[in-house]
Symmetry: C2
Subunit: 452 residues, 2 copies
């Protein structure tokens, strides 16, 4: 019998690691504990299940427990790890079905406990009708409500999930209000004017966007009836709290494993924690940001899958380094696509990089084509060298995935001068003859060397 | 009074150069001779004018003669340059409106004579109803026919323009047959199986695709009635010859300016021809291919614009080098997007590069999303180093512009190992969590070091 790998948390990072490890070492015993009723589900697809774009919850489940069993992974659902004993190299597991608690030893341990929705401390959060969207259970509950008689929904928080939930309920015919404490949508990743492009698109679709207002309390008797902000009372049949997530790292912290400033588990580029033989990956762990050079806690499916893969390789004696992330992200509100990568001017400056940014507005296709829609690109580059640092994109169909070009350029520390001349694809339905990406690069190239 | 720049050919390359030169040097006198009735038009948009996607011919004209006049450019339409006198530094110009011939001296001369549609030598090409699609006049004639009572159209040649004309007439309700002498569609830039993806999409749309058959003659009395191939007679009310273009370089050749093996004008990276003070840009000139390291003759709007810009800078005393092209191209047939960049395996091997390619099939979006459609990527890399050399893409909405990521990677000589980990954007409507681009890179990375 080979070694035993215990995995805590059976989602993207945990199960990618488990699968990768088993593929590399068929003698490895792998036990994965998942406190919930589902494993390996596509959390990012949940808003589209609520909207009805996705038919069934099963569609969101990447692999079933049976498939994991076939791959030699012993997946235990409803099994919550209560503590980690570093001395005995074991975890204590509470089974929520039969109420039993048992201990399981490990040779290697992967902590992939993910993140949870942050619940802001305010009166009324326990009322019926107040939801978050993180687990499949959350998604199921919201879907049932969304399918009912349309009423008023208030979404607290203007991040990615907030925008996606707004779209889902807008599709379902609900009256949607979004309340965001900051003066702009998606303020954590987008500059204010780019956030305003989304807010405008939402308002055009009759979503009521309330910016710069704190929610003071949620009102209702047993069931929510309204959301009270500093200046108004917004009627609400449903409230969705979408104010971000927090890494689930208490287990690790209590066991004495080092946590970072963000509260996430500190790992090196091999996904090793501070304790030998204990690994972490996914939303609960910090990752290296390639542009700012800092450790950050990102909650992105891509990063969870990649760090899980790295962990699985290294757990089985491999030598793989996670090369870092750029925080690349994309979403949409109906026809408007929004995407970001790397560092904004403000992020670069916080990281001590002397930077400059440029903004260009154009079209996704040749101006005379029916496909042509607005496209805005902001490119951030290092002053002097013109090294690409970050980009923001907003626009119609085909706008968003242009971010991958910038991600590739930033990944390779390409300069705007180089990017300007790249042989991008042109045909009238797809781009103007000079793609706006090249125009952005040309402008950034000039701005990088201009005197302040 | 400053120097005089004479430009022969007032399309993308010529007018980009003229505009750039005038912007840089307001004392420069610029005269542009255009033998046709239009200048500065978007030839690539013509199929979409035929289909009706584009309303009017004016939509395809980037800048009017009046706008050029305002920019200080003396644009002379209907003015065909008949010869270049290198001794006297002058051109002889025939005016097709008044029949007069005159001589105009120059200090600098830019030859931007473009390309013409190749007319294969065969019986019947002069019959009424036999067309090409290159000029705005061509487009106008085809549009009028397309708008008429639908009949049978036979397109000879399965390149980009052939496919786009097939779509246009399919939209108009015509019965479309495409005849291609090679065993596959777009054989000059796509591998056979990728060409087959297009042929299949065309056949699904009831386009009759006849491969591997030479057209022997076009039949008819005064007007075309049929196209006769080696094995069949295809009824035809219209025939469009779309078998590629040839550089228009006779003027240059007769004047003693060096032409290359392709028949195009030889230029260096500053767009200088073999004769001092004489420049060339656009379809009539060769360009450096960054992957194969050879000089090639591409007929692409992007290259014409870029080389025109380079010429305009250098003509006015600047020092800009054209960094080369990758032959990146994109088109569509209805919902199917097709794109290429760099070198295929066969191209790389012809250039003496030891290469390998991999092919992956997946989806454009998360599998559970309604947007998800097929996506195929072939990636060619150098054996050993895994340096990216070329890519081919075919797939549904969002597939085609992914080629720009490969173009960027190839531009920078990135390896597949690096590309595999780039932080590409993921959200269910836009990509699976591992974008197929990363999967292709991973597979290519492994293939590059595998033993033969």
């Amino acid at each position: 019998m080979g070694e035993r790998l215990v995995v805590i948390g059976a989602d993207a990072a945990g199960m990618t690691a488990a699968s990768q490890a088993r593929r590399r070492d068929r003698s490895l015993e792998v036990i994965a504990f998942e406190k919930g009723p589902f494993a390996s589900y596509a959390a990012c697809g949940e808003p589209y299940y609520v909207s009805g774009d996705v038919d069934t919850l099963d569609d969101l489940i990447a692999r079933t427990p049976e498939q994991f069993a076939k791959a030699g992974i012993d997946l235990r659902l409803h099994s919550e790890v209560m503590s980690i004993d570093l001395e005995r190299r074991s975890v204590s597991v509470h089974n929520h079905e039969d109420g039993a608690t048992s201990e399981t030893g490990f040779d290697q341990l992967l902590i992939a406990t993910g993140a949870r929705a942050f619940i802001p401390p305010m009166p009324g959060i326990d009322l019926d009708g107040v939801h978050t969207l993180r687990t499949l259970d959350d998604a199921h509950a919201l879907r049932i409500l969304a399918e009912g008689e349309p009423g008023n929904i208030v979404i607290v928080g203007g991040g990615y999930i907030g925008v996606e939930v707004a779209e889902a309920f807008d599709v379902r015919g609900w009256t949607v209000t979004m309340v965001e404490a900051l003066p702009t949508i998606m303020a954590r990743t987008l500059d204010e004017d780019f956030g305003a492009i989304i807010a405008e698109a939402m308002e055009k679709n009759d979503v009521n966007v309330v910016l710069g207002e704190m929610v003071e309390r949620i009102e209702g008797d047993r069931h929510v009836t309204a959301v009270i902000t500093s200046s108004e009372t917004i009627p609400a049949d449903i409230v969705v709290l979408a104010v971000g997530g927090r890494p689930v790292s208490e287990l690790a912290g209590e066991a004495g494993i080092t946590l970072g400033a963000s509260g996430a588990i500190v790992v090196d580029d091999h996904q090793r924690t501070s304790v030998d033989g204990i690994w972490s990956a996914g939303d609960c762990a910090d990752v290296y940001h390639r542009v700012t050079g800092t450790m950050v806690n990102l909650h992105l499916g891509t990063v969870a899958n990649k760090t899980g893969r790295i962990a699985g390789i290294n757990i089985t004696g491999g030598d793989a380094s996670f090369p870092g992330a750029l925080g690349t992200a994309i979403t949409r509100f109906h026809d408007l696509e929004i995407a970001v990568t790397g560092a904004r001017l403000i992020d670069a400056e916080s990281a001590g990089i002397d930077a400059v940014d440029v903004t260009v507005h154009g079209l996704t296709a040749a101006h005379y084509m029916p496909e042509a829609s607005d496209l805005s690109i902001r490119l951030t580059v290092e002053r002097g060298t013109a090294r690409a640092l970050g980009a923001q994109i907003a626009g119609g169909s085909g706008a968003g995935k242009r971010i991958d070009v910038f991600a590739t350029a930033i990944w390779e520390s390409m300069t705007a001068d180089q990017l300007e001349w790249v042989d991008f694809a042109y045909a009238p339905p797809f781009a103007p003859v000079w793609d706006l990406m090249a125009i952005a690069a040309r402008k950034a190239s000039a701005a990088a060397v201009a005197t302040r």
